[in-house]
């Protein structure tokens, strides 16, 4: 009899998931209210690595802000960099040469692949399939080799400059790139054979953490997560930037918005990215790799030492003595996990008057309690990894 009374007076368990839990891949805290194995409610805490980028940006000249953008979604730093350059270029009305645009597309699509590799392999890890992770991560290293040969850095790349790229692709870059394009399809196919139709994997992730298209739009989802829910919204097609309109590619769309759809959408996007890279290489025009913007683009070092004009421009760029138009501009790019938008208000000074970033991760992570309500704890972990929440982007 006593037991029956106990059941009516229900007691829930409070469980702290995070902030430093090995399964959350980053500093995320979720205080879960659990009924046995089932999640009843959860409260999120964010801001553990908040670095006040919006405030920092108000004191930095435009060419120094791109190092902040590296540290947003550090899994696909080049996309963040390019997005920032394009925002400033939109503000100053710069025309970027076709070659620079195509090279940027190649870099951006490579980093999209790197980003999706992380997300998809980590879904595998969280469901117990570590070998796929170890296997495909080698390809990510190859992508980082390409970035290293372009800009010298691997993770926080700071690749490119306002007006184009800092240098053209070298022989070594083309070597790395061609090797990657030859090897990666084989690797990706192997990875897909391992997981795609794997009964255990499918049972584990189908129907887990699903969200309807309507809810996804209301929660501000963008990118692969929104497309998995069935909305074909892609900034590359909606508002083409950097000559994306020149390329032929498909937009994969899911139906249920669950973990399996997010996984498959990302796999297919990798194939589409490869398609774009191949087209960009085939169509790559000759010409300059940067625009003629002496007030923003550093002159070659040889000229700085020997030419008066180059020395003046060098000084002006370094000291931030550039004149900018007054105005406000918003520019969005399709980042690794959604619409990454930069909003700057310029009052003509050397730094932005207001610098605001639309961080897709910050915006869609608030749907997480809604997505895990009523599911098991282990499903909550896999849902988070399939959403690809990156702490740097979340907390900015």
């Amino acid at each position: 009899m006593k037991q029956v009374e106990d059941i009516e007076e229900k007691h829930y368990t409070t469980l702290n998931l995070g902030p430093t839990h090995p399964a959350t891949h980053g500093i995320f805290q979720n205080v879960l209210t659990m009924d046995g194995e089932t999640i009843v409610d959860s409260v999120q805490t964010v801001g553990y690595i908040h670095r006040a980028f919006e405030k920092l940006g108000e004191r930095r000249p435009y060419n120094q802000i791109n190092v902040l953008t590296d540290r947003l979604n550090y899994c696909s730093a080049p996309i963040n960099n390019m997005g920032w350059f394009m925002t400033v270029e939109k503000l100053i009305g710069a025309e970027i040469p076709k070659r620079a645009q195509y090279l940027r597309v190649i870099i951006m699509e490579l980093s999209r692949i790197a980003d999706h590799i992380i997300c998809d392999t980590v879904i595998g890890v969280d469901s117990g399939a570590l070998s796929g992770f170890l296997h495909l991560y080698q390809s990510r290293e190859k992508i980082y080799d390409i970035f290293e040969s372009i800009c010298g850095a691997r993770l926080t790349t700071n690749i490119g400059r306002i007006g184009g790229l800092e240098r053209d692709f070298s022989e070594s870059t083309w070597g790395h790139l061609n090797l990657f394009l030859k090897e990666f399809p084989v690797k990706l196919k192997e990875f897909q054979k391992l997981l795609d139709r794997n009964r255990i994997f499918m049972d584990r992730i189908i129907g887990v953490g699903s969200i309807s298209a309507e809810d996804a739009l209301s929660y501000g989802f963008t990118g692969p997560n929104l497309r998995a829910a069935g909305v074909d919204y892609d900034v590359r097609v909606m508002n083409p930037y950097s000559s994306y309109e020149d390329f032929e590619f498909d937009i994969p769309v899911g139906t249920a918005g669950d973990t399996f759809d997010r996984y498959t959408v990302r796999i297919e996007e990798m194939w589409q990215s490869l398609r774009i890279i191949e087209q960009a290489i085939a169509k790559l025009p000759d010409g300059a790799f940067h625009a003629d913007l002496p007030y923003f683009y550093l002159p070659p070092k040889v000229d700085v030492y020997s030419k008066m004009e180059a020395l003046i421009y060098h000084f002006k760029v370094i000291m931030g003595e550039t004149e900018l138009p007054v105005g406000e501009v918003y520019h969005a790019v399709e980042g690794g996990n959604g619409e990454l938008g930069y909003y700057i208000i310029s009052d003509g000074g050397r730094t932005p008057f207001r610098f605001h970033i639309r961080r897709p991760g910050f915006i869609y992570y608030q749907a997480y309690p809604h997505m895990i309500k009523g599911s098991m704890l282990s499903d909550a972990i896999i849902t988070m990894s399939s959403m690809n929440v990156i702490a740097g982007e979340l907390d900015a």
Partner: protein, 165 residues
């Protein structure tokens, strides 16, 4: 489309739209603060306008503006099927930073509004949980206001003339 929006809004709320400007590819509507919620609701539910997606929102502090328009709240809406983006701005004085919440229109506004409360101190009326989000709870100021400079005020070697704001 811009004309249509202006016309529709003027028909429905004759006093709401107080200004309009075009900045690059964005039309900006400046809305009277008393009507901002009605205007946002109308933009969302009107079938022809159909601004169903809240892209982003952020606060702006203009310390040099006249007192009654020192602070600004910016909303950016997106009509995805027609691919039209608009920006709305509403100005308010420092003494009255109360803005109606839009969490009932877009769930995504929840954290965005908390962030702007955290950074600027906007009070979103009707918000379910208006607490700080990125900064610590003990903080007693709103750091993105212009009166809080990034650099240490006691330093005089970093002159604004030479090193900017």
């Amino acid at each position: 489309m811009t004309e249509l929006i202006l016309q529709k809004l003027k028909e429905k709320f004759p006093e709401a739209v107080v200004g309009f400007e075009q900045q690059y590819d964005f039309p900006i509507f400046i809305i009277d603060k008393n009507h901002i919620k009605e205007v946002l609701t109308e933009l969302k539910i009107d079938e022809e306008l159909n601004f169903h997606f809240l892209t982003t929102m952020c606060g702006i502090h203009y310390p040099d503006n006249p007192q009654e328009s020192e602070f600004c709240m910016m909303y950016q809406l997106h009509n995805m099927p027609k691919n039209i983006r608009i920006r709305l701005k509403t100005f308010m004085p420092k003494s009255d930073l109360h803005v109606p919440t839009v969490t009932d229109l877009w769930k995504t506004a929840n954290w965005m509004e908390r962030q702007e409360y955290d950074f600027f101190g906007f009070i979103f009326e009707g918000h379910p949980n208006l607490t700080r989000i990125l900064n610590m709870d003990e903080m007693n100021y709103h750091p993105l206001r212009k009166e809080y400079p990034l650099e240490d005020l006691r330093r005089d070697d970093k002159d604004d003339k030479m090193f900017g704001r």
